[in-house]
């Protein structure tokens, strides 16, 4: 088989996730516009150079009563007239699926320069209604209909499954939350950067940290977020041209070195039934992580300098720790207690603050993770920089562990 061309990441732009675009009375196209124009400005690329665009979005039909997001890319700049565009959906993994599609097209040598933008405007509706919309990422009729906040309850069950198999303490989940909020304070685009949080608060159980279902409290949850993130992906030929123009060596430009992608059955119960007898609670997630590591040729997690993972709830990060291979299965707590996952630790998880701290505009999250990976390996992550990061791995999950995508970004 002929060698597959590399996919380069030229850079990108993230909107400030603390913004409320409904309060600003904005249409989501304003968000896409800021992200894409920001990415073009940061990379010094002209709009007319873009050859194809992919949009990641989960539920615009519900939040904004608008579909056909790919077409809205053309509203950003007149130079995009006639551009091939499409929109991709896989619940909270929508952004990563858009990146997979764009990189596959570059690998197939159809295009030299692609723009991927993930976008979600969620503050158009109240918390309960939004929670109901998110329920469509599960099997709505079976797992979400007439249930208040179905997703926290599903991820509470993930914690319960860990508890049953290996034991799980609230203290460890509280540490996960505390670390993510602390990292978010270093990230100028993080939603919660000014919020009040500490370990005591994450452990508190009064009205200010109410129960959302099962073992999940407010501090265990990512929040409702508006945001868009754009990145530019390039073929080796375009990247070379761009590197010359920028006066930098091609080798200094990060690449998507590996990817993993699996889908498990949509019902949480079916996933758990399928995983009985496995050391891993969500074996398909494990497979996504290891296939990305294998494709990147990094061996295992020891070749990874930092992780941006999908902590929609503290239980999902708890799951990610052993699924990444940072500990033996069921021993995620050890990495927390040892300080391995904090900034400055062995393998920092979510230096950006992750979904809990930085925010979780659903369709944008996968793109945000890759952009944060790019910032880390180019030494441009500012106050949340992981010193000397060469390889960063992402994990983006749609549904209750249903669609998993992982990328390794490195130089």
């Amino acid at each position: 088989m002929a060698q597959v061309p590399e996919v380069y990441v030229l850079g990108g732009y993230q909107t400030d996730f603390a913004r409320n675009w409904s309060k600003e009375k904005k249409h989501f196209v304003a968000m896409m516009r800021e992200a894409v124009l920001g990415a073009l400005e940061n990379t010094k690329v002209e709009p007319k150079e873009i050859e194809v665009a992919h949009v990641g979005n989960f539920a615009g039909e519900l939040y904004s009563k608008q579909g056909h997001f790919g077409a809205f890319f053309l509203e950003i700049d007149p130079a995009f007239s006639g551009l091939p565009t499409s929109r991709h959906e896989a619940a909270c993994a929508s952004g990563s699926i858009a990146i997979l599609a764009a990189s596959a097209e570059i690998e197939a040598q159809r295009y030299g320069l692609a723009c991927v933008v993930g976008v979600e405007q969620m503050k158009t509706v109240g918390a309960a209604e939004g929670g109901d919309y998110l329920g469509t990422a599960a099997w709505y009729e079976v797992e979400a209909k007439d249930i208040e906040f179905p997703f926290p309850k599903l991820f509470g069950k993930l914690g319960d499954e860990y508890d049953k198999r290996y034991g799980l303490k609230d203290e460890h989940l509280a540490h996960i939350s505390t670390i993510n909020y602390a990292n978010a304070k270093l990230n100028p685009n993080a939603q919660t950067r000014t919020w009040y949080m500490n370990y005591d608060h994450a452990m508190s159980r009064d009205q200010f940290n109410g129960n959302i279902g099962g073992r999940i409290h407010i501090s265990d949850c990512s929040q409702v977020t508006d945001g868009a993130v754009a990145i530019l992906l390039a073929s080796p030929a375009y990247a070379k041209k761009w590197a010359d123009r920028m006066g930098v060596p091609l080798e200094s430009i990060p690449r998507i070195k590996g990817w993993g992608h699996n889908t498990a059955r949509i019902r949480f119960e079916d996933k758990i039934a399928e995983s009985r007898g496995s050391k891993y609670v969500l074996p398909h997630v494990r497979s996504t992580v290891t296939s990305a590591q294998k494709r990147a040729g990094v061996g295992d997690v020891s070749g990874i300098d930092a992780i941006e993972t999908h902590d929609c709830f503290t239980t999902s990060e708890y799951m990610a720790i052993d699924h990444f291979g940072l500990t033996a299965p069921g021993e995620s707590w050890k990495a927390i207690e040892e300080g391995d996952i904090a900034l400055g630790g062995r393998t920092p998880i979510n230096p950006s603050g992750g979904l809990i701290g930085a925010g979780h505009p659903v369709g944008a999250t996968g793109v945000r993770q890759v952009l944060d990976g790019y910032k880390q390996v180019t030494g441009t992550a500012g106050d949340y920089q992981v010193e000397g990061a060469k390889n960063v791995q992402t994990l983006n999950i749609g549904g209750s562990g249903t669609t998993s995508v992982s990328f390794i970004i490195g130089t």
Binding site: T15, D16, R19, K23, E24, K25, K26, H27, V29, A30, M31, M32, R33, E34, E75, K185, P188, N189, R193, T194, Y196, M197, N198, D200, H201, S204, D206, F208, N209
Partner: protein, 446 residues
């Protein structure tokens, strides 16, 4: 010289380790600024003492602080007490004494005299005053007090608004100023701006000039029209006169009177409180806290608007909106993220109503740039406090969006002085220099 940027980051860690703040005492901890600042300090300091006239009042401040940051764990770090029972002891123990008592010079002086007697010689004394002179407040105090005294002006509510002014007195130890700058930036997540000890410092000087000018214009045009003309589409979340109602007319008067009496500049008359406001205040009208100001509701719950000419309220529904199509056009551009197109359309809009809005916004830009060298060292300090403190489009952002030539023409056409920094700049110069700010967030669609 002032420096509007945070202390150089390379030196930040050295600065932070040059002192420790383990105990803060908040005076006036039952007031909004006291309790809000107190709650903020608990995020970084292990012990915070809330003091008020009575322990009950301090306890009330703590309860409000818990609600403000939505965490009972604030209580774990806070103890409370009264001026009579606890002042000398806790002030003697404190690393930082944070004064947030009522904004009256005499009252503050009484507290500072008392602090001077019992504080440790190395403790820091900060005042949250929003405009009283730091040098004047330090008068008569010991050398050690004056060396350790500075203004630390948080904006309300401090847990939400990060813009903060840092004002040194003439005797304040520069190293202490650098330390507080670094501490507030790194530990409290503040966006710090160093300002001169001038009336209203930087933010209130410029912000209340604009607000008062809107109040003056409301006399002829009515509050409703002025708030629409200088509305969100011009680069702010809240309309100007609704802001004055929220802040309180008494606070507004204190700020503009202080600036009018103690500063002189090219826009002096725009800082004179309109007579109708004084008349209404004599009748007890103070804005939202008294139920009505420029805007309110009648007994039936219908929206009412002040008619400054008659000093009477009229139903909002009785006021007709003139043709303001240019605002609709600009709002629609903002809505889809075309802010530059929107602000260019603003600068070029025709007609008497557009002229009013252009004069206020042009005046904001002109006044801001003319204050450089007086209230801050450079325009970026003013930009930061207007953006992070007032949540208004900073003057540089407006110039960049409108375009230099158009901005100059708009200011000139309004009969206002064009700042030399703009007049002498090359076309294509950009003025705003903070890449971490999303410029689009300031331009709110109507």
């Amino acid at each position: 010289m002032l420096s509007t940027t945070a202390a150089a980051s390379a030196k930040s860690s050295d600065l932070l380790s040059s002192r420790t703040i383990n105990h803060v005492v908040v005076l006036g901890a039952n007031g909004a600024m006291g309790l809000g600042s107190g709650a903020l300090f608990t995020t970084a300091v292990p012990r915070v003492t809330f003091l008020a006239r009575t322990k009950d009042k301090a306890d009330g401040g703590l309860a409000a602080a818990v609600k403000m940051v939505r965490s009972s764990t604030v209580e774990n770090r806070v103890d409370t007490g009264s001026y009579d029972e606890d002042f000398d002891r806790v002030v003697g123990e404190a690393d930082l004494i944070f004064e947030a008592v009522t904004e009256q010079l005499d009252l503050k002086n009484e507290f500072f005299e008392r602090i001077d007697k019992v504080r440790r010689p190395d403790s820091i004394v900060a005042t949250v005053t929003s405009g009283l002179s730091i040098n004047q407040l330090a008068e008569g105090r010991s050398d050690s007090f004056r060396k350790h005294f500075l203004g630390l002006h948080f904006f309300n509510p401090p847990n939400v608004i990060v813009g903060t002014e840092l004002i040194a007195g003439k005797d304040t130890d520069p190293k202490l100023v650098d330390f507080i700058d670094a501490f507030c930036t790194a530990r409290l997540g503040r966006a710090m701006v160093r300002t001169a000890d001038t009336p209203g410092f930087a933010g209130n000087r410029i912000g209340f000039k604009v607000l008062n000018e809107c109040a003056i214009l409301a006399e002829e045009h009515g509050p409703l029209l002025i708030d629409e003309l200088v509305g969100p589409y011009t680069g702010r979340a809240m309309t100007p006169l609704a802001t004055v109602d929220l802040v309180g007319w008494d606070i507004h008067r204190a700020i503009v009177d202080n600036i009018y009496d103690n500063a002189s500049d090219e826009a002096h008359e725009t800082l004179r409180l309109p007579e109708y406001m004084a008349d209404m205040m004599a009748k007890g009208v103070l804005g939202r806290k008294t139920g009505a100001g420029f805007f309110g509701k009648d007994d039936a719950g219908q929206r009412i608007v002040l008619d400054p000419a008659t000093r009477k309220y009229v139903p909002k529904s009785s006021i007709s909106r003139p043709d303001l199509a240019f605002i609709d056009t600009i709002s629609n551009l903002h809505r889809v993220g075309r802010y530059v197109d929107g602000m260019r359309a603003f600068a070029e809009a025709k007609g008497p109503y557009a002229a009013i809005a252009q004069k206020v916004i042009g005046g904001y830009i002109s006044y801001s740039f003319h204050r450089v060298g007086e209230v801050t060292d450079d325009i970026s300090g003013i930009d930061r406090i207007m953006g992070y403190g007032f949540n208004w489009a900073p003057p540089s952002v407006l110039v960049d969006a409108i375009g230099l030539k158009r901005a100059i023409a708009m200011i000139d056409k309004s009969g206002l002085p064009v700042p030399p920094a703009l007049a002498n700049a090359q076309e294509g110069t950009t003025f705003f220099d903070d890449p971490q700010v999303n410029l689009g967030k300031f331009f709110v669609a109507a």
